[in-house]
Symmetry: C2
Subunit: 469 residues, 2 copies
């Protein structure tokens, strides 16, 4: 695609749309504030936008996009910038459209167990708001304290509870979207079921901002589960931890969390948080297993069943967290693995995913590939979903090794995923950094269909260009 340059006249038009104080340029704001808009949580990438625009509502988003569409200016939508695949990086410069001011919870409909929100609401803020009226919004990425719901929609984010409750896409009934032409549509209706035409809602979710900008979301909600039980289970063999995951499900239990952490993941995170944790020498991995429900007695029964399953494995002493503080600490350790890895080193995070029972094979394969190519990885993730986050640590690798040398081993990891019935991203998206590998997961015919769909929505290719394919 050929893009045009953002002229001062166009910047003036943007100012008319959103007000001058919401059009930021490198000249107008402090350097580090501006620089932050050019980064997300992906490695150490930075791309400067020509201008940052902060609209307040769908009509302003529409006017901005329409202007850019007419003048062939790239538009990169951005939420909180917590993405791990570079989806929010303005690699073709142009307009960075921040959704930070689209941050209202518009309605919580207790009669219908639904809520209507804007995309700039922080995930945890929304969770807490609905919890106050006894309702439950399950998707909870590790970054829930800062990530926006809009970013969660862009990648269909999951999080620990996905194993029982599914990912973001399972809670969306209807979306208001500003198309790349500037037109505003609603994708569906506010109903639990819908068999009226093609499913544009699910097409938008996971499309990483390449098909339009979501400006309102209608979520379905559940009754809030009143009780949880949390267990930290230490394993002497990593593969046994991965194997036990399948066994729990086969016993008829669906945990609300089933997280795998190899020794270093949990050690780095507890160090980083300064939460003391005894880790016997022979423990190589942990499972963090959560059960939830409305009836505590029932949960204890289920916990006993889990214990019975675990008896068949070589486990250490199981820690049953029985108060809120202890539970919070354990979850905090789990959630901060990513941060602790980032604190230790630049890293590349691969979001591998396979059918649940193939996890031991994947883990073994990742380690073997690492050994062969001489890199270290820290692995953890949503074992119940077969979703393993492989963090490749930069450590002492040279620029050449880091930027070029890792391509082959990463390709081999992804090829292994596909061979096992899996794919290259479970919840982080393709964005910029996995783009080069998409051919491993998808055949050319699939990509042609996707490019065709992109062309239907975005004939000028202005919306988040350079992402996915």
């Amino acid at each position: 695609m050929e893009y045009q340059v953002l002229t001062p006249a166009l910047v003036a038009e943007l100012e008319t749309i959103v007000g001058p104080q919401h059009v930021l340029t490198a000249q107008r704001v402090e350097a580090d504030v501006y620089a932050d808009y050019g980064r997300d949580h992906t490695e150490d990438f930075h791309f400067a936008p020509d201008v940052v625009v902060r609209p307040a509502n769908a009509e302003e988003v529409s006017a901005i996009v329409r202007l850019c569409y007419e003048h062939r200016i790239p538009v990169t939508p951005r939420g909180a910038g917590t993405g791990l695949s570079g989806g929010a990086l303005p690699i073709h410069h142009g307009v960075l459209l921040s959704t930070e001011r689209l941050n209202r919870i518009l309605a919580i409909d207790e009669r219908n167990l639904q809520a209507t929100v804007e995309p700039g609401v922080v995930n945890e803020v929304f969770q807490n708001a609905v919890k106050e009226v006894g309702l439950f919004y399950p998707p909870d990425p590790a970054s829930k304290g800062s990530c926006f719901l809009g970013g969660n929609l862009a990648h269909s984010s999951g999080g620990p509870k996905a194993v029982k409750y599914g990912t973001t896409r399972d809670y969306v009934l209807n979306l208001q979207v500003v198309l790349p032409t500037g037109d505003i549509i609603w994708t569906a209706a506010n109903t639990l079921k819908n068999s009226t035409g093609y499913n544009l809602t699910q097409l938008m979710i996971g499309s990483e901002g390449t098909l339009g900008i979501i400006t309102k979301v209608v979520f379905r909600l559940l009754p809030y589960p009143q009780h949880t039980i949390l267990m930290l289970v230490p394993f002497r063999q990593e593969e046994q931890a991965a194997e036990a995951v399948s066994a729990v499900f086969r016993a008829g239990i669906i945990p609300s969390g089933m997280e795998f952490m190899e020794r270093e993941a949990i050690a780095w995170s507890s160090d980083y948080l300064k939460i003391p944790l005894t880790l016997p020498e022979d423990i190589l991995a942990h499972l963090l297993i959560e059960l939830d429900g409305q009836d505590l007695e029932q949960l204890y029964k289920e916990a006993e069943q889990v214990y019975a399953v675990l008896e068949h494995y070589d486990v250490g002493e199981i820690l049953l967290a029985d108060n809120a503080t202890q539970k919070d600490e354990l979850w905090k350790i789990r959630r901060n693995i990513g941060n602790s890895v980032r604190y230790n080193s630049v890293y590349k995070e691969e979001d591998t995913v396979v059918p649940r029972a193939e996890l031991p094979t994947l883990l073994k394969g990742v380690k073997a590939i690492g050994a062969r190519y001489g890199f270290k990885s820290v692995c953890y993730g949503h074992a119940g979903d077969g979703n393993l986050h492989v963090n490749i640590i930069r450590g002492e690798l040279t620029d050449e090794q880091w930027n070029v040398g890792l391509r082959q081993p990463i390709s081999e990891i992804f090829e292994l995923c596909v061979k096992l019935g899996g794919t290259i991203s479970g919840e982080h998206g393709i964005g910029l950094v996995q783009k080069g590998y998409i051919g491993i997961a998808l055949k050319e015919t699939n990509l042609q269909l996707m490019r065709g769909i992109k062309q239907v929505f975005d004939p000028h290719g202005i919306m988040n260009p350079g992402k996915i394919f």
Copy 2:
């Protein structure tokens, strides 16, 4: 679109692909057998195909479709023909592609709680097969004893259990699809999570055979719930029955079934089945409420909570079905309402759907519209989902009244749905019969996007032409 005529030379080519015994024409088979291929369960429609082709595998489907693509011959995919929107009717003649021989359960993967099946497997056959190994496939349309899984995918069919477990689309991980060009793709991977490119899986589901022919499906499964409790709750006021639905959810209970039946629905069905049922004069509607789970004691606790909610309504004596025979009879009555209505009269079935709490308003509105335009309707459906099946009875209506006169009142019913945040089909699809009303639910911009997508998949417009839009 301009279509070509199916010449004897092309019929001969089809015979080469599938074998002569699997190419049926009006001349070769008995008239009533052939006629059946031109019908489904929608009103009394009939359209004769030029030829019925019965392939045995994806490769044969591909060869048939490729031939039709090259020669611009319409292809109408057909499952069991139990559809209620005319989706399987070959209205442009050409090839009717029956999936009846694609009827194998290829694998049940107990380690991963997954199964791979062909689209011609009967829903209930599949349910029973996975139940034998302790697994659960929840979607259960009323026609589960005869409908094919492929048809369920075409419309994302629901059924009573959708209220707790979602519809067909919530159980699909991956699809093998023969595109209208004849190319064969897999849409995704066999994983619970997938954030790798646009979601072609969900785009195919509910596309009513207009984007390709599904030839294999990978479903995710759940552990089978060991116990159920079933209650039949009689109400003296129809609207109270609809109101009670929301109240049960707000009490924190998610039933595995929450069915609404107005007096006549249950009376006609029990008469049709010759199952005696006492219906006191003052009872105007029923709710059939099912709870399921792994622990019977827990279910009784939940049942008590349901009773506590129902105390606030004017209900008759609640029937608690406590043995398998009684439960089967009650479900049989619910499932046969459609058949009993069909037995009594030709009817048009409108698959209205609204947010759950708007059901009383919808029901009242439907009856008011019926009174104003002089038609009778029998209403029942999945109240937990806000999905009300409105059966408009032909009775003594003239051809003119039936074919033309009902258009305005049906439009008014659909307009009411949309006004209440709902839409015009929850699970039956648009197909042929709701096509004229789609503009009520979807804006022209939405339809343009859908037509654009159709063009990407099917540039010659051969696949199930004349459906949806």
